[in-house]
């Protein structure tokens, strides 16, 4: 069992931890497999993009990476290390289809940490109540929506946006702690130590 799966059960959130998803997928839970794919497809995708592969090659790589995972699900050496395994396997498959020598300069460790962090952030966001998802979604849109726009769209007074935002982000922090972001070795974005 992986580190994450062995942590105490809290409000059922640990079911979303990667190791638990792997165990469930290995036990023929198709939904758990789909969630694993949803969670880590961005990692596999970004590595393929780093190799500047064409559509056909990307498809070739993706099919074989996920086929290998499906085949080895019950035998992964350390389920909690899935992101690392996926990154290595994807790079190997990319090199196989790339005819010219060489590859991207990105540091594989960074890719894994970012992918893990992003996966936890998305999972924590998905656990927010719908009203929080709407609000935070508008606040993180690019370009960000103005408070006036949010007020009109969501039907909440401008002055209550800031307190609701704080409340929703606090909930997100709670989910993230349970989902094990700290274990992913995450540093705050922007490099600052924060408050």
């Amino acid at each position: 069992m992986g580190l994450k799966a062995s942590r105490p059960s809290l409000a059922g959130y640990d079911d979303s931890a990667t190791a638990a998803l792997i165990s469930r997928a290995a036990a023929s839970d198709h939904g758990a497999w789909d969630e694993l794919v949803e969670r880590y497809a961005p990692l596999v995708w970004s590595i393929c993009m780093g190799f500047r592969l064409g559509h056909r090659d990307v498809e070739d790589v993706a099919q074989n990476v996920w086929l290998l995972l499906a085949e080895q699900l019950g035998r992964l050496p350390e389920p909690a290390e899935l992101p690392g395994w996926l990154a290595r396997t994807t790079r190997r498959e990319c090199r196989r289809v790339v005819t010219s020598a060489g590859g991207p300069d990105t540091v594989i460790g960074e890719e894994i940490v970012m992918a893990e962090r992003n996966a936890v952030l998305r999972a924590a966001f998905a656990q927010l109540p719908p009203r929080c998802q709407s609000l935070i979604g508008m606040l993180t849109s690019d370009p960000p929506c103005s408070y006036a726009e949010i007020s009109t769209t969501l039907g909440i007074p401008v002055e209550s946006i800031a307190p609701q935002r704080a409340c929703c982000l606090e909930r997100m922090r709670g989910s993230m702690a349970l989902l094990g972001l700290a274990e992913a070795g995450a540093n705050p974005p922007g490099g600052g130590p924060g408050a």
Binding site: S28, V37, A41, V44, D60, R96, N118, T140, R165
Partner: protein, 150 residues
């Protein structure tokens, strides 16, 4: 660590995470989900251990006389499947030689072909890419290749 994230940093990080997910096309995610069909399959997965095209590419020399034949080898712990593409057909050999049945899986379904006593098989026409081969030996052993795109 987590305690160090202020609200602005958390929002920025979430924005990045959402963008990273949105950059991934749906067909790519579907490809991953569909691979679950191979979960628990009773077959050994053979690795691609030789590809004439990849080797030729690494030579970085255009040799037109050898370009018409593509050879691939898939190897598992117990046996290998050697493939050769030529003149509109795909010829194969199971090593060590043994009889059985070959399944050709494509997007549109599966077909079977016999593998003779010498371990030979022929697929004509060449299956539509991508395809995957699974050999079922008469003695019960089963080996499959990864997805092949020619």
């Amino acid at each position: 660590m987590l305690e160090g994230w202020d609200d602005e940093q958390l929002l920025a990080a979430l924005g990045e995470a959402v963008k990273a997910r949105e950059a991934v096309p749906e067909w790519f995610v579907e490809t991953g989900k569909n691979a679950y069909a191979w979960h628990n399959i009773d077959a050994e997965l053979a690795q691609l251990t030789y590809d004439s095209q990849a080797d030729a590419g690494q030579m970085a020399v255009a040799r037109s006389e050898t370009a018409s034949i593509r050879a691939l080898t898939f190897t598992s712990a117990h046996l290998s499947i050697e493939l050769e593409v030529a003149d509109g057909s795909l010829l194969g050999q199971v090593v060590p030689p043994q009889p059985g049945t070959l399944e050709t899986h494509t997007r549109s379904g599966m077909t079977t072909s016999p593998v003779d006593e010498a371990g030979f098989f022929a697929l004509e026409p060449i299956p539509a890419s991508p395809f995957l081969l699974r050999f079922r030996a008469t003695d019960g052993a089963s080996v499959m290749t990864g997805w092949i795109t020619l």
